[in-house]
């Protein structure tokens, strides 16, 4: 049926209704984050698009593997074997140290440090939003990923998962403007919070007093406060300290150690409060709210991020 005049009250009325629904939806999504199911359903529709976009890149990597000559593979194999031997030797030492550490902790009746579970995820090559630092990963609730899960690469902490779908998940990098991670200076143990700046190459350490013992080149490791990120993973290296006596705090910049824009593979980490539960979407879905109350530090919202100011000292 084709009508000549389509304008009428119905379109305007629907428009007004949708405006109200949109406002309600935005409020609910921003305040309570209960809309994972909606997001999840819609992401099924988007999955083929992401798959198709990522396909050429995947084909490129695949063809690179297929086309590489036997000699190359043999060389690489030998190299990797050497590297594995070296790391195994180092691991032996570490193993003993870990055992000793555990024994000493037991003597002190300190909380035992448990090991974490890992899973390798691949970054799907899609651009999300040029003004946010998001990446899309090829693991979702089907693999036990949960919202708030830390992700790391071979060099350091990369970020955390913010939306998790069945087959994919979206992660926020530590450099996003609304991200913050509790850190500790490796050398002195001074605790702080590293805020994302929206720039890929540096984080901001805020609320550091003038008399703090800091040097350029100091390594920042995750402090484990806030209980979202596991402890003692490298995060960044201090690159610039600006001590302006007119300001209350000093201006400290740190460069992330993780290769945020070049890594193709990342590790999902299951921390001790999240046992690696295979397909059980209920469990991860309920945790973020509890987390939000107890540890607002890494909640990916600006308002929440503002708060941990006093926790930083």
């Amino acid at each position: 049926m084709q009508t000549l005049f389509l304008r009428g009250p119905s379109a305007t009325l629907r428009m007004i209704i949708f405006v109200i629904i949109s406002l309600a939806l935005m409020t609910v999504d921003h305040r309570w984050k209960h809309l994972d199911a909606v997001r999840n359903t819609l992401s099924y529709l988007l999955y083929p698009v992401e798959y198709v976009v990522d396909l050429p890149i995947r084909l490129y990597y695949w063809s690179e593997e297929v086309m590489s000559s036997q000699q190359n593979l043999l060389d690489e194999n030998r190299q990797l074997r050497d590297m594995q031997l070296q790391s195994r030797v180092q691991l032996q030492k570490l193993d003993i140290l870990e055992k000793e550490n555990e024994r000493l902790r037991k003597l002190l009746s300190a909380t035992p440090k448990t090991t974490e579970d890992h899973l390798i995820a691949e970054i799907i090559s899609v651009d999300v939003d040029p003004y946010r630092h998001f990446i899309v990963l090829n693991k979702g609730t089907n693999d036990g990923a949960y919202r708030g899960q830390p992700i790391i690469d071979a060099h350091g902490v990369m970020g955390q998962i913010v939306y998790v779908n069945a087959m994919t998940s979206t992660a926020m990098l530590i450099t996003d403007v609304s991200h913050a991670i509790p850190v500790q200076i490796d050398r002195t143990g001074l605790r702080s919070v590293a805020f994302g700046t929206g720039q890929t190459d540096y984080l901001d350490l805020r609320h550091i007093p003038h008399n703090a013992d800091l040097r350029v080149g100091d390594k920042l490791i995750s402090s484990g406060l806030g209980e979202r990120f596991p402890r003692n993973y490298p995060v960044a290296v201090i690159t610039k300290i600006d001590r302006d006596t007119g300001e209350t705090f000093i201006d400290v910049r740190a460069e992330p150690l993780a290769q945020l824009d070049t890594s193709r593979e990342v590790l999902l980490v299951w921390t001790q409060n999240h046992e690696k539960a295979m397909p059980e979407p209920e469990q991860p879905a309920e945790t973020p709210d509890k987390d939000a109350i107890e540890k607002p530090v890494e909640e990916p919202d600006k308002e929440d991020v503002e708060e941990p100011a006093d926790a930083a000292e």
């Binding site: 049926m1 084709q2 009508t3 389509l6 304008r7 379109a11 305007t12 629907r14 428009m15 949708f18 405006v19 629904i21 949109s22 406002l23 309600a24 939806l25 935005m26 999504d29 921003h30 809309l35 909606v38 997001r39 819609l42 992401s43 529709l45 988007l46 083929p48 698009v49 992401e50 198709v52 976009v53 890149i57 090559s125 899609v126 651009d127 999300v128 939003d129 040029p130 003004y131 946010r132 998001f134 913010v162 939306y163 979206t170 996003d176 403007v177 609304s178 929206g198 919202d301 600006k302 308002e303």
Partner: protein, 162 residues
């Protein structure tokens, strides 16, 4: 079986979403036009009885999911744009391509502004004028998008009433 027009419309949206997320080198990322909005504006002009505010809102919601934005942010913007196109489609159709491009510029600007306002309220508004580049590139690309879409629709759509 889906009617041809619907197939073409779905395919064009699929391609538009692909173009939205396809990785680009860093310096062009900010110039990437809002493909989905442009394509949907075309369909709201060509098939207004099929492409109304409901479709606009739902597609906007998909855009929210693909951008990792707050649900409703792009949906609100796209829905309002489609609403304006919907009620003005007869006037838009007879306008010249340049006039259309000017209108499209303001429509895209409206959507960018709505998205910007919501981002600002939530607290992560981009602080660069480059944010408005997609509006300009989108308006400049409009004549080509329009012609390509029209030819595709005429070739594959069984109903060519315009």
């Amino acid at each position: 079986m889906l009617p041809n027009n619907l197939k073409v419309a779905l395919l064009s949206l699929f391609v538009a979403f692909m173009l939205t997320i396809i990785p680009l080198p860093g310096w062009v990322v900010e110039f990437r036009p809002d493909w989905v909005t442009l394509v949907l504006i075309y369909w709201a002009m060509a098939l207004p009885e099929r492409t109304g505010v409901t479709i606009g809102w739902l597609v906007g919601l998909m855009l929210d999911v693909s951008h990792g934005a707050i649900l409703g942010q792009h949906a609100l913007g796209l829905m309002l744009v489609i609403y304006i196109v919907h009620i003005q489609h007869q006037r838009l159709r007879v306008a010249s391509l340049v006039q259309q491009a000017i209108v499209i510029f303001f429509l895209l600007l409206l959507k960018q502004l709505i998205v910007l306002w919501v981002s600002g309220i939530v607290g992560h508004a981009p602080d660069t004028w480059l944010y408005f580049m997609p509006t300009i590139t989108g308006a400049m690309l409009w004549p080509w998008i329009y012609i390509i879409m029209r030819d595709v629709r005429r070739k594959f759509g069984y109903r060519a009433h315009y």
